[in-house]
């Protein structure tokens, strides 16, 4: 019963949130920006459903299955960390090229990527060595992702 009340309360609150957000789009966002926003929303959905998820699926089916079970987790974390760093660096590089404010960028993005990427690899290696000392190798099941 309590769960039912919580679910309904969350659903009603959520519905109100979405409705209020849409009202804000209609009343506070310039009509000229509606199309741009819709384009970004559509692009975000497409990136998720047509790029990220299929790429993850393909990587899982083609690459991860060939990797020994014990090496899969560091690979997953490494790829995830690298993807995050590359996204941040790509934005920083693009921002630098478009920046008209001389004080806006003081960190060179590519050396930052190399240093933080190096730290990521180092941390994963150390964690794996420590974990390897503590546990025997065991299968983690199918390796689709």
């Amino acid at each position: 019963m309590t769960e039912r009340i919580v679910r309904w309360s969350l659903a009603v609150l959520g519905g109100c949130g979405i409705a209020y957000g849409l009202v804000l789009v209609l009343t506070r966002v310039s009509p000229a920006d509606w199309f741009r926003l819709a384009r970004w929303g559509l692009a975000a959905w497409m990136i998720n459903d047509l790029v990220l998820m299929p790429v993850a699926l393909l990587l899982g089916l083609t690459v991860l299955r060939r990797v020994p079970p014990r090496r899969r987790m560091p690979l997953r974390i490494g790829l995830l960390g690298l993807a995050s760093l590359v996204i941040m660096t790509a934005i920083a590089v693009g921002a630098r090229a478009h920046q008209k404010n001389p004080t806006a960028e003081v960190t060179a993005p590519l050396p930052a990527l190399l240093i933080t990427g190096g730290v990521l690899v180092l941390v994963i290696l150390v964690a794996e060595i420590l974990a390897g000392l503590q546990r025997p190798e065991r299968d983690e099941g199918p390796a689709a992702g």
Binding site: E3, R7, W8, L10, A11, G14, G17, I18, A19, G21, L22, L24, V25, R28, V29, S30, D33, R36, G41, A44, W45, I47, N48, D49, L52, A56, L57, G60, R72, M73, R76, I77, L80, S84, L85, M88, T89, I91, A92, G94, A95, H98, Q99, K100, N101, T103, A104, E105, V106, T107, A112, I115, L120, V123, R135, E140, G141, A143, A144, G145
Partner: protein
């Protein structure tokens, strides 16, 4: 008659179970949600504070504590950055769901409608989440590639994203509860080490991104701020970063002919810079905290706003602040009465012992405690008691 090979195509598409790996389980998705949901919630609440503070009728921020906005906006941006790997991990852990099919007889309208509504909600949730994180990142780097007015769009989409998260939690609540309550012996669970390792690794990546970017707010970590758009304590004009230069604001040509007009119930007063410098000066150490997340403290010297208002009467009333800049959302701002009365609110003409550089708002700018940087108006030319 051409028969579409739908059944054959349907058979060739793998089921979610066929592509599910060690980390694509309700346990991982639920536990990632335990971090991603609150992270979005923190961003939402701190965003509401920032939005309210910038609203003409905002009431949430007061002059105390002076570091209030610095803290809330620093948390907003740091948490937003941490959302990037959390969001990627959630997408990664949940990707087999893209192959979901209607649960039950596929021809029954109720089954199809429920399935379509679920897909629509997931679509709204992921689109709103990705738009928020992506445009937020672009905005803190001041790369306005999205070309729409960021503030109202980010605010509106935040409500949509939070609403979609709440409905998503409502629909998945039974699974969430079941997953969190389940306590099977370790040997019966499928690859518990892999799941724990994945969640730990994702949190590690989120923590790493935070450590390498939060130096723009947390002074001692400035040296590590390799991923932040600003390093406030590094090479900056007069020790403070600049978001908008005098040239960008289009005020360079008019600075030499500057004068300050103060109007109120008692009349109008015009002051040139020498007269302003001859008035009693106050020095305060206050942070300037930007909506993009960076913040830095500086020593500001100038005339108390209260003293300027006393010239024209009108104590206890709000003040309208007008910049020489034209056409910007922040060219005209409101300083509420309690900020006007606060002895730390000044019209600064010096920063860290030097005369303000034009890019810092020369000849005079507002500095008040616990205000978003965008409202610390530069190149002030008119103060009007309301």
């Amino acid at each position: 008659m051409v028969r579409w090979p739908l059944r054959s195509i349907r058979r060739r598409i793998p089921t979610p179970a066929a592509v599910t790996g060690a980390v694509q389980s309700p346990a991982v998705v639920t536990r990632l949600g335990l971090f991603l949901g609150p992270a979005f919630g923190i961003c939402f609440l701190t965003g509401l504070i920032s939005h309210n503070a910038q609203s003409p009728t905002g009431v949430l921020l007061r002059p105390w504590p002076v570091w209030g906005y610095r803290l809330t906006q620093g948390i907003h941006v740091a948490t937003g950055i941490a959302c990037l790997p959390l969001l990627l991990a959630k997408i990664f852990a949940a990707y087999p769901r893209i192959l979901d099919r209607p649960d039950g007889p596929a021809r029954r309208p109720s089954v199809i409608i429920r399935f379509a509504a679920d897909r629509l909600l997931i679509g709204i949730l992921t689109a709103a989440g990705i738009v928020q994180v992506a445009t937020g990142l672009f905005n803190i780097f001041q790369w306005y590639v999205f070309k729409f007015d960021f503030v109202p769009v980010h605010y509106a989409v935040a409500w949509v994203a939070m609403g979609a998260i709440l409905i998503h939690v409502a629909t998945k609540l039974p699974t969430i509860i079941e997953t969190l309550r389940r306590r099977r012996p370790t040997e019966q669970r499928r690859s518990p080490d892999a799941r724990r390792g994945f969640i730990g690794g994702v949190l590690g990546v989120a923590g790493g991104l935070t450590i390498f970017s939060i130096g723009q707010t947390v002074g001692p970590l400035d040296g590590l701020a390799l991923l932040s758009p600003r390093r406030p304590r590094s090479v900056n004009l007069q020790g403070v970063p600049i978001n908008r230069t005098a040239a960008q604001a289009g005020v360079v040509d008019r600075i030499d002919s500057w004068s300050l007009t103060v109007t109120g119930p008692g009349g109008e007063h015009t002051l040139h810079r020498d007269a302003l410098a001859a008035m009693p000066q106050t020095t305060v150490r206050l942070p300037i905290a930007c909506v993009e997340g960076w913040s830095v403290s500086a020593e500001w010297s100038g005339v108390r706003i209260k003293d300027l208002v006393d010239l024209v009467g009108g104590a206890g009333r709000d003040l309208r602040v007008q910049s020489m800049e034209r056409g910007s959302r922040y060219a005209r701002t409101r300083l509420p009465a309690d900020f006007v009365a606060d002895p730390r609110s000044i019209l600064a003409i010096r920063i860290n012992g030097d005369v303000l550089a034009p890019d810092h708002g020369y000849p005079a700018r507002i500095i008040a405690p616990d205000r978003p940087g965008a409202l610390q108006t530069k190149w002030v030319e008119r103060l009007e008691v309301l």
